[in-house]
């Protein structure tokens, strides 16, 4: 229990954060409202719209009626989950080993890894690599893309660094090998770090669309973001040439482009909104406390 007293400074902080939160949320709230606005009022809807006039769920029902969207959702979930397993595993292993300052070649490895953060061959060599590895059009190509992000690796190292040496000593004395130390001591104690990195990697996978578009030629493997973007683009084309009717393959009612764009923004964010509080649970203060028996 935090025993610090509340003073005027505290209230300044509270208010500032509140204002900040409102400013952050407002545009998304605005998009939500637009996505729920009926076609008669949609043209007038703009950045100041606060209430969905002509309230309608039809935009959402039309989008969610498209089978492709469900496939996209499933694919995204699969890619994100599988990706996270690979990411956390490899990043943890890498961080655990590379944090050992007296490892021979450590500096060399670190530089080698940081270089990959800055330099890359680009899309074309990556594509041909996938082709040569026979990974084109496989989920693996997307899952393994940026499997170990040097930035996150180094951050994980920072978290691991905070594990008390005494714990590691104790484990060694008990005869624990490195793998056991990593999985039984370091990881459980660095839960905040794992949660943070998982969030970063998770969001990365969830939002990734370009490589998925390029590597995956089968549309039924496409993650949600790709589907949503394709929807926008074809809708834009249709809207551009004059149609306010939705894609032929849906048989859905007329949807306005503006409302569609807004609804797709909301749809892309909702899963993250649901996932994040789950992660927040691990951002608990003083997790280390109690783990070290002095």
């Amino acid at each position: 229990m935090d025993k610090r007293k509340a003073g005027i400074g505290h209230w300044v902080v509270v208010v500032t954060l509140f204002v900040l939160a409102v400013v952050m949320v407002y545009p998304l709230y605005n998009q939500l409202v637009i996505s729920l606005t009926g076609p008669e009022y949609i043209t007038q809807a703009d950045g100041t719209t606060l209430i969905p006039r002509g309230f309608t769920l039809s935009t959402y029902t039309s989008v969610l009626a498209i089978p492709k969207v469900y496939w996209g959702l499933l694919n995204s979930l699969f890619i994100t989950a599988a990706g996270l397993v690979v990411n956390i595993l490899l990043t943890s292993i890498g961080a655990y080993v590379l944090i050992k300052r007296n490892l021979v070649g450590r500096g060399f490895f670190m530089i080698m890894i940081v270089i990959t953060m800055i330099f890359e061959g680009g899309l074309i060599p990556d594509y041909f690599l996938m082709r040569d590895l026979h990974l084109l059009n496989t989920y693996a190509s997307v899952i393994l893309f940026k499997a170990v992000n040097p930035y996150y690796l180094i951050i994980m190292m920072r978290f691991f660094d905070q594990v008390p040496k005494s714990m590691l000593e104790a484990a060694r004395l008990d005869g624990y090998g490195d793998v056991r130390i990593l999985f039984k001591i370091v990881l459980p104690v660095s839960v905040a770090g794992i949660a943070t990195i998982s969030l970063f990697y998770g969001v990365f996978h969830w939002n990734e669309y370009f490589r998925a578009m390029i590597y995956l030629s089968s549309e039924h493997k496409w993650p949600l973001q790709v589907i949503l973007r394709e929807l926008i683009i074809s809708m834009e084309k249709a809207s551009f040439i004059g149609s306010t009717n939705f894609l032929q393959s849906t048989g859905a009612a007329a949807i306005e482009f503006k409302a569609l764009k807004a609804s797709l923004i909301i749809l892309a964010i909702v899963p993250i909104l649901l996932f994040y509080p789950f992660v927040l649970r691990y951002f608990v203060k003083g997790r280390l406390q109690g783990a070290v028996k002095e």
């Binding site: 935090d2 025993k3 509340a6 400074g9 902080v13 509270v14 954060l17 509140f18 900040l20 939160a21 952050m24 949320v25 545009p27 998304l28 950045g47 100041t48 490899l90 292993i93 890498g94 080993v97 590379l98 050992k100 007296n102 490892l103 021979v104 490895f109 940081v114 990959t116 953060m117 800055i118 330099f119 890359e120 061959g121 680009g122 074309i124 060599p125 990556d126 041909f128 393994l144 170990v148 180094i154 951050i155 920072r158 978290f159 793998v179 905040a192 949660a195 943070t196 969030l199 892309a268 909104l273 509080p277 927040l280 951002f283 608990v284 203060k285 003083g286 997790r287 280390l288 406390q289």
Partner: protein
Amino acid sequence: MNSGLLRKKIKRDRALYLMLLPVLIYYIVWHYIPMWGARIAFQDFKYIGTNEWVGFKHFKMLFSSPVFLRVFLNTITISAMKIGFFFPLPIILAFLFNEIRSSGYRKIIQSVIYLPHFLSWVVIAGIFISLLSSPLGVVNQIITFFGGEPVSFMTSTRHIRWIFVVSETWRSIGWDSILYIAAINGIAPELYDAATVDGANRLQQARHITLPSILPTIITVFILNMGFFMNAGFDQVFNMMNDAVINKVDIIDTYVYRVGLTKGNFSLGTAAGLFKGVIGIFLILGTDRLSRKTSGEGVW
């Protein structure tokens, strides 16, 4: 260190090397092999058939543009402004979070503060253009309400770079603060209890406990971002620039996009990437060394 000692150390650590192997394989296969593809920066790219080596031709084309110097300076200026003004803000935000005792309130705020990060720059550009429009945009309405003259912000060469900094702040302050919040949460509460007993107030506690504890994290983030210094944010610039301010905000990436990529000149794009990368590496190594000398901490 003599080779005998070296071999002994390697033998002792052989389990570690084995553990590291999959990670190394990943980097070699997924990064170093394709990196070899970046040699097209020194070749004339051909769709089929073999590329011919042309040495520094593309670099020369890059540097010889009458606007290259300006584009280069824009990139540096915008990046520097972002680092100077934006970088500390997520840290400060994390500190503010730390002051909230009610975990309920904290959770609510935390759950929304990162949301703008998920909006694409297309959307954010639209928002800012609309907010800053003159005379009817919200900002100008406020200005005129207080008796001022409306300003056309998006077309003002004096303001445009600041708009980039502000919009970047708005978008990323919440998301970037997550890491610092996690770091602050790792600080043992006993430290704070002890300090309170010693009579330290909140500000002092922040300065003497929180800050030093997360300083390694801050330094790490700072140095790593130095590697991206020459990027300056393509998506943002691309979506928010317009003809009026193009000379102030055209960065290397937007230039390369226009002159190289849209024309299928991949070699030019790759050459620019190498150029940016070399500078990035120097900046990382430089700031790392500086940091080690002054605070003892490096990036790893």
